[in-house]
């Protein structure tokens, strides 16, 4: 197992390095001078030049890249130009919104998708199956920002069950969870639909396998065969999807954060891009890429735990 982990770690670091180069290159190419933007229309050329020097924008690309990566390795992401606060604290505050939101959405999606997928697979072709499949088709097709808009209209404005957005901070965990509920539902809908479909088709594949027939021949009922043998084997592809979804939820919630004006990582990136706060953009995107690669790595490890065949090869 260790050798597998070491091998993967080596390739991970390689991907991270390549990712950092790509990100730095793309971000540096964005037109629009941050200093000019910050000083506005009436600023004079000399003040802009002074600010550029202060921000270190005039140094050669390579040394700026080295400074950025060097800092990142020790956990110091540098200081944001517009917020004038260390990027690390900026991210720390924002991650306390994005991470719980992603976890909340993922739990909702999994809690809905697993029973739906299993029920649909166990009654293949039945009324329940068609209904669930119909619902998932709708779930996948609804644009989640449109769904969010409708949620806000109904639950926040008309029924006033939830606040229309904003995030009160974790001082009062209950209020914080309440604030994250509508966004989590909006994010969870398409993910639950996808996960339910994957669970169903993976389970159906497993139910078609020979070892199910052997289990039936041993005297297990159809339900027992499904729960004791098919389900565990079906979990493997489902795990991949959950891993992918988690990394998507972390970074893909930009629009939902916009609709609910949540101070999350997505919105931070969006504002930082329009304010040309390049250090923030680079660091946060790098952090997201790092998390995604780590999540994939963890999913691979859990593979080995779930499937002994991989354990042997690892």
């Amino acid at each position: 197992m260790i050798r597998f982990a070491l091998g993967r770690l080596a390739s991970l670091t390689a991907s991270l390095i390549v990712a950092s180069i790509v990100i730095f290159a793309v971000v540096e190419v964005i037109p629009g001078d941050p200093a000019a933007f910050m000083l506005g229309v009436n600023a004079r050329p000399d003040t802009i030049a002074a600010l550029r020097a202060e921000m270190g924008l005039d140094e050669p690309l390579v040394s700026r890249y080295a400074a950025w990566v060097g800092g990142m390795v020790q956990g110091n992401f540098g200081v944001s130009w517009t917020y004038k606060t260390p990027v690390a604290t900026l991210i720390a505050d924002r991650i306390w919104v994005s991470l719980p939101l992603a976890i909340y959405a993922l739990t909702l999606s999994t809690l809905v998708a697993f029973p739906a997928g299993i029920y649909a697979a166990s009654r293949r072709g039945g009324a329940g199956d068609t209904a669930i499949m119909g619902a998932t088709q709708l779930g996948v097709a609804i644009p989640n920002f449109w769904f969010a808009m409708i949620l806000v209209l109904i639950f926040a404005i008309n029924l006033r069950w939830f606040s229309a957005g904003g995030f009160p901070g974790w001082a009062d965990p209950w209020a914080a969870l309440k604030a994250l509920t509508l966004p989590a539902i909006a994010l969870a809908l398409p993910q639950a639909a996808i996960l339910a479909r994957v669970m169903r088709s993976s389970l159906l594949d497993m139910l078609g396998e020979d070892f199910i027939r052997t289990a039936r021949a041993k005297g297990l009922t159809r339900r027992q065969a499904l729960w004791r043998h098919a389900l565990r084997n079906a979990l493997i592809p489902v795990l991949t999807i959950i891993g992918l979804q988690f990394s998507f939820l972390l970074a893909g919630a930009i629009i939902i954060e916009q609709v609910f004006f949540l101070p999350g990582l997505g919105r931070l990136i969006f504002q930082a891009i329009s304010a040309r706060d390049l250090i923030v953009v680079e660091s946060v995107v790098m952090l997201l890429v790092f998390t995604v690669i780590m999540v994939n790595f963890i999913v691979d490890l859990t593979y080995a735990a779930v499937d002994p065949r991989l354990r042997a090869r690892a």
Binding site: S15, V26, V140, W146, I212, G252, I269
Partner: protein
């Protein structure tokens, strides 16, 4: 012809028809603004009502269909055009450094948060339909590359491929003559699914203002503009939403229907 296929094909044909028709005729010219009678409710002169500039919503939906379908189609084209050969190449050189490189590259592109990179691209090159196409297209490439490689790998072990190798055919020729035709069905099915995802992505991008720019219409931007009117004139926000929903639903059903129709591996479930 399963139920999914019929409904899916019907919906897709309807919206592509709308898009095609918009080249020739639309009930009103969307470039002429008519501020005095804006936000009319559906019915009467304007079947689906008018938007905040007084433009006819039906015409806007038709023109929007053209943008969404064009952007998604070209993006899937890019995805397939580059992804499939890459996948075939990786499978042909399975286990080699090249195969590893392509797969590592795929994982890397998957690792990037797609929406963030789309925003970065449009920030660098300016928001426009073309940049939306590139942004969405890039993230389709690894999907097709991975799918093609996954489908092609087992085929390489099949006897008819060994027979072709015995006949002296090279890896490239075999990939085109033998492998590609046998995974074509998979490509069509995945193509429709990615097409529907492309429409959603285009709508998301134009919703945050990074897709097609005025005067070209786009469903996403119609949604964004109508957002603040949702409490006074809900139809302006609901109609584009439904247009996106039905097109994506149509494409997904078409994808499912095609999957069953093209390779009916009837999954006989043991008792």
């Amino acid at each position: 012809m399963s139920r999914n296929l019929i409904i899916g094909a019907g919906l897709t044909a309807f919206f592509t028809g709308l898009a095609a028709l918009s080249f020739l005729w639309t009930p009103y010219n969307i470039e002429v603004l008519d501020i005095p009678n804006r936000l009319l409710t559906p019915g009467g002169a304007h079947v689906l009502g008018t938007d905040h500039f007084g433009r006819d919503i039906l015409s806007m939906v038709m023109m929007g269909a053209r943008t969404s379908i064009a952007v998604a189609l070209v993006a899937v084209g890019i995805g397939m055009g580059l992804g499939v050969p890459l996948g075939l190449w990786a499978a042909a050189r399975r286990g080699s450094l090249l195969d590893d490189l392509i797969m590592r590259g795929n994982d890397l592109v998957f690792a990037f948060p797609s929406l963030v990179i789309a925003i970065l691209i449009t920030a660098v090159f300016g928001p426009s339909a073309i940049n939306a196409i590139i942004a969405i297209g890039i993230f389709n490439i690894p999907v097709f590359a991975r799918l093609t490689r996954g489908a092609a790998l087992p085929l390489w072990e099949r006897d008819f491929i060994l027979a072709a190798r015995v006949s002296g055919k090279g890896a490239a020729r075999i990939s085109v003559e033998h492998i590609l035709p046998n995974i074509a069905n998979l490509m069509i099915v995945q193509g429709t699914i990615q097409f529907s995802l492309g429409i959603l992505a285009e709508a998301a991008l134009s919703y945050i203002g990074l897709g097609a720019q005025p005067p070209t219409a786009s469903w996403g931007r119609m949604l964004a503009d109508a957002q603040t009117l949702v409490s006074i004139a809900p139809h302006v926000a609901l109609i584009p939403g439904f247009a996106i929903l039905l097109t994506v639903l149509g494409l997904n059903l078409l994808g499912d229907g095609l999957r069953d129709w093209l390779d009916p591996r009837l999954r006989v479930v043991r008792t």
